[in-house]
Amino acid sequence: MSTDRYSIFSVLRESLRGHSGWKPAWRDAEPKAAYDVVIVGGGGHGLATAHYLASRYGIRNVAVVEKGWIGGGNVGRNTTIVRSNYLLPGNIPFYEHSMKLWEGLEQDLNYNAMVSQRGVVNLFHSDGQRDAYARRGNAMRLHGVDAELLDVAELKRILPMLDFDNARFPIKGALRQKRGGTVRHDAVAWGYARAADGRGVDIIQNCEVTGFRIEDGRIRGVETTRGFIGAGKVGLACAGNSSRVAQMAGLRLPIESHVLQAFVSEGIKPFIDTVCTFGAGHFYISQSDKGGLVFGGDLDGYNSYAQRGSLPTVEDVCEGGMALMPSIGRVKMLRSWGGIMDMSMDGSPIIDTTPVDGLYLNAGWCYGGFKATPASGDCFAHLIARDAPHLVATAYRLDRFARGRTIDEKGVGAQPNLH
């Protein structure tokens, strides 16, 4: 244990001695010769997997190897929205499992991840869209997930700044999930890292996996920029780079890598206290606790491993924002950035074994993998520890594409640009 328990007493104690007694939240570990399990990728999913392996499934001889620094990937680049408003049977129980883990996360980790259930409001602009959202809301409620349809009068009360009578996209109402909201993304990475480290997991940064040692169809370990590390089992959680890493083990995946951008404005006074998505274009927005408006929209739209985006998309996203809430037009944009995501061919993820014994795959998280972090970690840990899928993740198989069992929320067929 390298860390103290955080509490009101530790904060008070440290405030009286100039905050000189805080210890690093996790050790900067050197790689050992071998581990029971090596997780490749120190993003949210990899760190969560390590935490649950150690805390729920009794496997503590674990390393997380990360080519950069933890939190440097998508877990620290996303727009922090969490929700479980899915439609299809394979998805709803999984994302609801994730939502429940978010609700208990801070107690589980002893870490303030700023879980904020401020609600997620999806606007609709036509009768057809109202029907589609009513259907989605009903599917959620049948699975025991909260959902409510809001009319314009109710919406005007909670989001008065919307352009309700927009000539082209009048707002007719919304589907709201009250339990959805935002979670401080960096804190999720740090909280999982600290909790996993506390149970003996080694977090090894600046250590890129460059190959796999496979003998007689069984994984023996990983080649890295810091030498060979032996492993009984290896789990891949390399969001955005899954194709590249899996290729080193001879696998070809149903995935393309694409860039998604995000944007933050200058800090302003409290303006919007929920998450809101535009239904007539691709735009979503919330406000951070520092006051910045956090927003985003579509993918740039072509394969990319460059962690930066192009200007036409910036323009498109900002136009979406102006169509929805013209009052933000004079707020200055402070920063924008991009992250590379695995876009799977049906918009749903993969948590499965692979043709290589002892090699497990967690990939294909698309736009929405942040909200999945806790459940993804729990289910991947379950799979690795027990060689059987977790009950809520049985649909996320790698062979579902060839078997015609895709999980296509949008119902549009094979294309790598879905949610």
């Binding site: 890598s257 491993y305 036409p312």
Partner: protein, 94 residues
């Protein structure tokens, strides 16, 4: 990013529509089912040179095969998709 359309010259990327990996080809009608599954779903997804289909949708509407580095967006070549397809057919026949 700008793409040099062989017909219209250098144009902004927002005039073009993207249609993905140009190297995948439809298997023969009697090929095994797995060949079709691979064709529809699996991609090399390289970090580096990528041959990809674009249409100059808001321009001359021609289909193009662009070879682009997915790490830097540097474009190596832009060819008319028709020429690429014809070359592929004549290769298969010879």
């Amino acid at each position: 990013m700008r793409i040099a359309c062989p017909h219209c010259g250098l144009r902004g990327v927002d005039e073009f529509a993207y249609f993905g990996d140009a190297s995948v080809t439809r298997p023969a009608a009697d090929a095994a089912e797995t060949a079709f599954a691979d064709y529809v779903y699996l991609r090399d997804n390289p970090a580096g040179a990528h041959r990809e289909l674009w249409s100059h949708a808001l321009g001359c509407q021609s289909w193009l095969v662009v070879t682009r580095d997915t790490r830097s967006h540097a474009i190596e070549t832009v060819e008319a998709a028709r020429d690429v397809a014809l070359a592929r057919t004549s290769e298969a026949q010879s």
